[in-house]
Symmetry: C2
Amino acid sequence: MPTTNLDETARQILAAASRRFLHYGYKKTTMSEIADDCNMSSGNLYRYFPSKLDIAEMFVRVLRGEQVANLRTVLDAPGRTPAQKVRDFFLLKFKLAYERFHDNAKAFELSSALILERPKVALEWENAEGRVLGEILAEGNADGSFAIDDVPAITKILQNAAYRFTSPAVFHETDEEVLAAELNGVIDLVLDGFAWRSAHRDHGKAAAAGSRS
Amino acid sequence: MPTTNLDETARQILAAASRRFLHYGYKKTTMSEIADDCNMSSGNLYRYFPSKLDIAEMFVRVLRGEQVANLRTVLDAPGRTPAQKVRDFFLLKFKLAYERFHDNAKAFELSSALILERPKVALEWENAEGRVLGEILAEGNADGSFAIDDVPAITKILQNAAYRFTSPAVFHETDEEVLAAELNGVIDLVLDGFAWRSAHRDHGKAAAAGSRS
DNA sequence: CGATTGAACAGTTTATATATTAGTCAGGCT
DNA sequence: AGCCTGACTAATATATAAACTGTTCAATCG
């Protein structure tokens, strides 16, 4: 709930801006228009946000909060094994990203514009989702289905392996069903990797390094 | 060797164009300049190439030929197991892509411009490399280290899993060493997945589907 | 007569002028 | 006082004109 910290007026500004960002795009909405929507002067906006880009950043922060909360439901799903939750996590993440960006050029534009100027926001987003994924992995460690000693490292590896299915730039090329099927293929292989490591608990860095070069 | 099919004059044009593409960029080199380099009129270029874009396409085709030949050396490396060759393949592919695009905006521009208008070229490139990777997998099947029944499907899955490390758009953000280390992490996990499947030869589509949903 | 040219055309890029907008701040309002 | 306004400015974006470039093809060359 990132909006909790915000003033009532700030929240009103954010709501007006969000509506226009999604409908007309980031570049085409002006500060004056946002101000008019809130029945205030454009100058007054700067008492609540340092710049237009910061409004966009807050918008994305809210979106991220919702998405992370959405992904977190995977954790609480009853009757699902950790392995199934890993799959659920990435399929849901893919679905959310696909639905947001496919046939929604405005959302893509806002995202691109923000990430270009504030790369840190993208990193924070990835880390926030990574924490959820890490909890799934920890759960698998606890019930013995996984055997992961460096959870953050494996989290990163999984995010890398699924990158193709979370990078919006590629979405326009391929159909959702096809991509989902390919994502399942990657998850299958990765989970088998976990199964192998779980059966050979002596893996660790030594074994991994040994198999290399 | 894609240039073998070409006329001597066509090869001269291609060489002149390639030099300018890499030095000044695709958009900034004009047909007149290429023609001047070859001591001919601009109109005469069209007796050898239908358009400027086709010169760029041929340039990329040559590049692809070299890259695939380069990757193919991985296959013939003596004393390497198939698993090691899978790693070699992707590390080499990453290194080649990184070196080509990092700090070489011109190569990136040419690639982007071409892929935008001729997406098929990118697909053909991926397929050509996939064939080499498929041969490595087949080798692993032959010596028993892998147990892959649908080699093309697994090839695609591997390419998807390594996408993060072959997509030039991301290269400018992260340092080569870090990316290579992360790629190794993905390969580790994927190879463990192969090991698991090799140890449980009854995997196949039924088992994979069963583990899902 | 086939091979080549370069002027001509249509489309695009660049350069320039005009207009809009993000952000500031001295003052007005409550 | 504290909150808000709206004219102002520097910077960005849009619109318009000029220049250039990819491509064609009738005329020329060998």
